[in-house]
């Protein structure tokens, strides 16, 4: 059996964890964690690859990680010593090995394969958080620079009403309204532009250019025109989302093949019939691409516009106000909400896309 150098390195580090002092006041966890991690490393090095050894490795490395997390509270007085860092690096290497083996793991059942494919990024993300917590608290990084995830989580739990009010103001009012208007207007404009070749030749280069411009810059002007309430943010979002939608839809309307269009002509179908039955369905992948791009842009536009003036509620307002007061954990809580909202809306659009463009080669299996 070929042994990977990573596994051997992790075994050496785990040995270091066993021998070297870890610091702290040495509770039960401090006595058990080195053993657990050492056993995990031993499994990685000496036990032949099988389903059993993979499960054992995954289990052991996570138990070890949680023990390390538990040890953190004992480092309040003095920073952790070398033994602790040996264990952290060993646990990290072992987690990497486990993910690697899981990725190479061949399963016959399709549902199990789906589960594995879902577990891989989740494990990766979980380890990002674990390492973040271990390193930030272990090194005693000032919380203003980077607060540990546990601190952010407790801040989120403690200020749900504020976060909800901000979310309502920025996402449900400004971003959604602007998104709907901008995408709708872009879509209608694209159909008109597609009908008139002169407009297509003239407007598309300009549209391409505007799509690359720093459109967020118009935020101060919109705040001057429409006041500091959500209408001005929606206006920024409308302008930001209009051009990506226009450009993508026009490209999509040109996507149907000449042969298919000829077929429609032989059927004697009118312009509108061809549009609805052939060209719009063919344009759907492009339109959904624009919808996805715009879902991110809308949130960015709404938040950035709030930096230029807003009522005392909203995600952008909260971010700039709490940065000024150096409450970085609250800022991170808002970022988490924004990231969650962004990812969920992206996911939702992807689901709708799959339902609408089920015929597209990328979804056929």
């Amino acid at each position: 059996m070929k042994r990977s150098p990573l596994a051997i390195l992790s075994l050496l580090l785990a040995l270091g964890g066993l021998i070297l002092p870890a610091g702290g006041d040495g509770g039960v966890l401090a006595q058990m964690a080195p053993t657990v991690i050492f056993v995990a490393a031993a499994v990685a090095v000496f036990v032949a690859r099988s389903t059993f050894s993979l499960v054992a490795l995954l289990l052991l490395v996570h138990v070890g990680a949680f023990m390390l997390l538990g040890m953190l509270s004992s480092f309040a007085a003095a920073p952790p010593l070398l033994g602790y860092w040996c264990m952290v690096v060993a646990a990290w290497l072992l987690a990497w090995l486990a993910v690697q083996r899981l990725a190479e793991f061949t399963v016959t059942s399709r549902q199990l394969q789906k589960l594995v494919n879902l577990a891989l990024p989740l494990l990766f993300g979980a380890w990002l958080l674990i390492l973040w917590e271990l390193v930030v608290r272990g090194f005693g990084v000032p919380t203003i620079l980077l607060p540990p995830p546990s601190m952010i989580a407790s801040r989120i739990a403690a200020s749900v009403p504020t976060l909800w009010a901000d979310f309502q103001q920025t996402y449900l009012k400004a971003a959604l309204a602007g998104y709907a208007m901008g995408c709708g207007a872009g879509f209608v404009a694209a159909i008109i532009v597609d009908r008139v070749p002169f407009l297509r030749n003239g407007l598309l280069p300009i549209g391409n250019l505007v799509a690359a411009l720093p459109v967020v810059g118009i935020a101060p002007i919109m705040v001057m025109w429409f006041g500091s309430y959500w209408q001005s943010k929606a206006a920024v979002v409308v302008i930001m989302t209009f051009f990506p939608m226009l450009v993508n839809t026009v490209a999509g309307l040109a996507a149907s093949g000449a042969m298919e269009r000829d077929l429609m002509r032989t059927y004697g179908s009118s312009y509108w019939q061809t549009l609805v039955k052939l060209r719009l369905p063919a344009a759907m992948p492009f339109i959904f691409n624009a919808l996805k791009i715009n879902s991110t842009l809308a949130l960015i536009g709404a938040i950035v516009a709030e930096f230029f003036g807003s009522p005392i509620v909203g995600m952008g307002f909260r971010i700039s106000a709490e940065v000024g007061r150096m409450n970085v954990d609250m800022v991170w809580a808002e970022i988490f909400v924004a990231a969650l909202a962004g990812s969920l809306s992206y996911g939702l659009i992807t689901l709708v896309e799959r339902a609408v463009t089920f015929w597209h080669p990328s979804y056929r299996t």
């Binding site: 990024p121 407007l203 250019l209 924004a338």
Partner: protein, 299 residues
């Protein structure tokens, strides 16, 4: 069928005339809106003075207001001319000075972001573990409004004494590596299976496959995503300048203009940023088409 025309004449008919017409229409609309939007202020002034204002006077006044709701195009052009050509480039009021500040952090961030994106893409293409575990996160993080937290990154880095060019460049890097990474993964995977098999029959090593097949094949993808990356790193640099107390840069001009109601200054800064974006994107487009031609890509 249209009759055959020379390429230059064809270009005029296809591009110059339509684009020129649309631009003229936009400028005309701009004038109309500036009159309509600025008129209430003039009428108000006249009413306060107890007089009525003649239409010709109204037209003239709306186009030369000190702090208009919407400045007329010639006011913006005048402001740009004044701040670009009349002032020394080292002056704090010169648009060239502010533009250079923004441009330098844009370019630094863009270069760093492109390198990072290429490195990530190479790692993802060559490692199954990274592909399966990292790729979903790269796509997810595109849905995160990074731009919205740009001010926080600046303030926090300032708190630990990292100031100047670097914090803004970090934001630009963060924004610009995503399109490059995603585009390059696609590009490095674009060679067909048949070509990869051919390389294998030649007994090519992994690095040979990379340098002789994958890398050249990814060039069109690289330049397409670099165009997006440079545009977005300019946006990142501008937004990054907002919270630094409005010291220097296009973003600082925007913020200062919005504080003091200097609409002409805001519009001038916006147009300057737009021109900069257009120049940067088309420069990369030109380099891209040159490289593609050398690589034998036919459009």
């Amino acid at each position: 069928m249209t009759e055959a025309r020379g390429p230059i004449v064809q270009f005029c008919f296809d591009r110059v005339i339509p684009v020129g017409t649309i631009l003229l229409v936009i400028i005309a609309l701009w004038y109309v809106f500036s009159v309509v939007l600025n008129a209430p202020f003039e009428r108000d002034q006249a009413a306060r003075a107890g007089t009525t204002i003649a239409t010709s006077q109204l037209l003239h006044n709306t186009m030369w207001q000190e702090r208009p709701v919407l400045p007329a195009p010639h006011q913006v052009a005048e402001e740009i001319r004044k701040t670009v050509f009349d002032l020394r480039p080292t002056s704090k009021r010169s648009l060239v000075y502010h533009g250079a500040v923004t441009l330098s952090s844009t370019l630094l961030g863009f270069v760093l972001g492109t390198l990072l994106g290429i490195l990530l893409a190479v790692a993802i293409v060559h490692s199954r573990t990274l592909d399966k575990s990292l790729m979903p996160w790269i796509i997810t993080s595109q849905t995160v409004p990074i731009l919205a937290i740009a001010p926080m990154i600046i303030v926090v880095l300032n708190a630990v004494n990292i100031t100047g060019l670097l914090p803004k460049a970090i934001i630009s890097t963060y924004l610009s590596f995503f399109p490059v990474a995603v585009g390059m993964v696609k590009g490095l995977r674009s060679p067909e299976i048949m070509h990869l098999d051919l390389m294998r029959t030649y007994n090519a090593s992994r690095s040979q496959i990379f340098w002789k097949l994958r890398w050249p094949a990814s060039m069109p993808y690289l330049f397409t995503s670099m165009k997006i990356a440079v545009a977005i790193s300019l946006v990142g640099a501008i937004v990054g300048e907002l919270p630094t107390g409005a010291v220097a840069g296009i973003g600082a001009r925007l913020l200062a203009g919005s504080y003091y109601g200097q609409t002409v200054q805001i519009w001038a800064a916006l147009i300057a940023a737009a021109l900069m974006a257009a120049v940067l994107v088309s420069l990369i487009g030109i380099v891209g088409s040159l490289v593609n031609r050398r690589m034998g890509v036919r459009s």
